[in-house]
């Protein structure tokens, strides 16, 4: 029974909070009300059983509790105001979504989730605040869980969340879905925040384990919600595909000794076929739309890797072409770096190093690691050793460090 409640909570908390924010016009009140409703559920459901529409039950209960509370506490004027909003809502206090028009209810809930998503990822908030708010409000994660996932003290994370909510409140942020003209930028912010959550889970910047599954899983879950809510946005599909195709390689990313394994050295039989197939379907759906964007192109690159039975059989020319397209819309040095690595695989290490001369990323660990690998393959051992040493200085991830030290050791040994 506890497990079922947990499952319902993971699935419904974000949706219920999203609706309650609209009904109450206040993020904190909504969070309190939803938490209270789940507490009541924890008491009642083990005795009476889980209701047929648990999300509707939680939303209605949270709303009724909020009304009771506001009536009791209606001393402060803003709470008065919120109470007024509640009464003027079309939804009757005794309204029961289990028996009413469920379709209409579901549409409203979907819109609320979108509103909440765009609010959490408002571009006026710093990226780390966007991520924290998204996980807290939409993901329904506890502040302590988010703090643990990002390896910051709980008080720091709590303060970050409080400040972000306060900023939205003080600035009179509206709970709405952006207009068509604003949508591309606003959606890019949402997708960017979700991808940040994913990559944080995928490669922990600190901590001993290379992956932190919970964050990646949560990012994919939220990514699925976005695709379901905005089925006409190919970039949302591209992001989901990219996450699924990357996630598929997880079982092969670390060996039995918890050391990192490079893509080219991974045991491809360990890759999760179901995730690859789902990712491929999404990439194909994106191609049909023919509105390429950065996430779709990165997903297409991941799909080429996933397609290849072995590292040697990789279609590098296709990958270089995709990186060229990506660089055309996102001309940043990290894309140029990845392109240079692909060129190195297609045309040999010297061509890769040539492509790298135009890249200036001195403070970026993957730059030195990629350069070291190309130098080693080109037979320039001394320079390769120096580049590995620089890469090792720059990494804060123990598994990555271990991998780089091993690589450096290999070429140092081959020198002897």
């Amino acid at each position: 029974m506890t497990d079922s409640l947990e499952t319902v909570f993971r699935r419904e908390a974000g949706r219920c909070t999203a609706t309650l924010i609209r009904l109450l016009g206040d993020i904190d009140l909504a969070e309190e009300a939803v938490a209270e409703a789940f507490t009541i559920a924890a008491e009642q459901w083990p005795i009476r059983g889980i209701p047929p529409n648990p999300g509707g039950w939680i939303t209605t209960t949270a709303r009724n509790r909020a009304i009771d509370r506001l009536r009791r506490e209606a001393t402060r004027t803003d709470r008065h105001h919120a109470a007024h909003r509640l009464h003027s809502e079309a939804m009757d206090p005794d309204h029961n979504p289990e028996i009413a028009d469920l379709d209409a209810f579901v549409v409203v809930v979907a819109d609320d989730q979108l509103r909440l998503m765009f609010l959490c990822c408002h571009p006026a908030l710093a990226a780390d605040s966007q991520v924290a708010l998204t996980l807290r409000l939409l993901g329904g994660l506890e502040t302590a869980e988010i703090a643990r996932a990002f390896l910051v003290p709980e008080t720091t994370m709590a303060q970050r969340i409080v400040r972000a909510k306060r900023k939205l409140h003080d600035n009179h942020a509206t709970y709405r879905i952006p207009r068509a003209a604003e949508l591309p930028d606003r959606l890019a912010a949402v997708l960017g925040a979700i991808y940040l959550i994913y990559t944080e889970g995928h490669t922990a910047t600190t901590g001993t384990s290379l992956t932190r599954t919970d964050l990646s899983t949560e990012a994919i879950r939220i990514g699925r919600v976005v695709v379901a809510l905005m089925p006409d946005e190919p970039e949302a599909m591209g992001l989901l595909a990219l996450m699924l195709l990357t996630e598929a390689r997880r079982p092969a990313r670390v060996d039995s000794l918890e050391s990192m394994v490079r893509l080219t050295d991974q045991d491809r039989s360990l890759w999760t076929r179901a995730l690859i197939e789902e990712g491929h379907d999404l990439v194909r759906a994106c191609l049909r739309r023919n509105q390429p964007g950065p996430f779709q192109l990165q997903a297409a690159i991941a799909a080429v890797h996933a397609d290849s039975p072995s590292a040697e059989a990789t279609d590098w020319s296709q990958i270089v072409t995709l990186y060229d397209q990506l660089y055309a819309i996102r001309p940043n040095p990290v894309v140029a770096l990845n392109r240079a690595v692909a060129v190195g695989s297609l045309e040999g290490p010297s061509a890769g190093l040539d492509a790298l001369t135009r890249v200036d990323l001195d403070g970026y660990q993957p730059y030195h690691a990629a350069r070291a690998d190309l130098l080693a393959r080109a037979g320039r051992t001394d320079e390769a050793l120096a580049a590995y040493t620089r890469a090792i200085e720059l990494t804060s991830n123990p598994a990555e460090r271990e991998f780089l030290e091993r690589q450096r050791g290999n070429i140092a040994d081959s020198e002897l």
Binding site: L168, D170, N171, H172, A173, T174, P178
Partner: protein, 115 residues
Amino acid sequence: MPQYLLSVWHDEDYEPDFSTPDAQRQVAQVGAFNDQLQSSGAWLFAGGLQPASSATVVSSTGGEVSMTDGPYAETKEQMGGFWVIQAPDMDAALQLGSRAAAACERPVEVRPLQG
């Protein structure tokens, strides 16, 4: 309706030279932006400030008044001017802020007033 301060920020030693084409273009752009603010009803108040070096800080502690030459914040960037506008919500205020930034070709801070 919510009110917001849009403040324009310069380097502390910034002195506008209105004879340059750049300054004249900015003045014309800001003038057009002010007209838009007034006709749309967003305008409440605005002003450009004399250089930060013209400021005096006056403090009063326990009836004791003291004066210090120069601006309060000892920072390299100082406020050079501002608008106080009204807008229906944050996004509308930020949009006016971005138009203000484009008009004066300077970063603009958008900050809500209390109340």
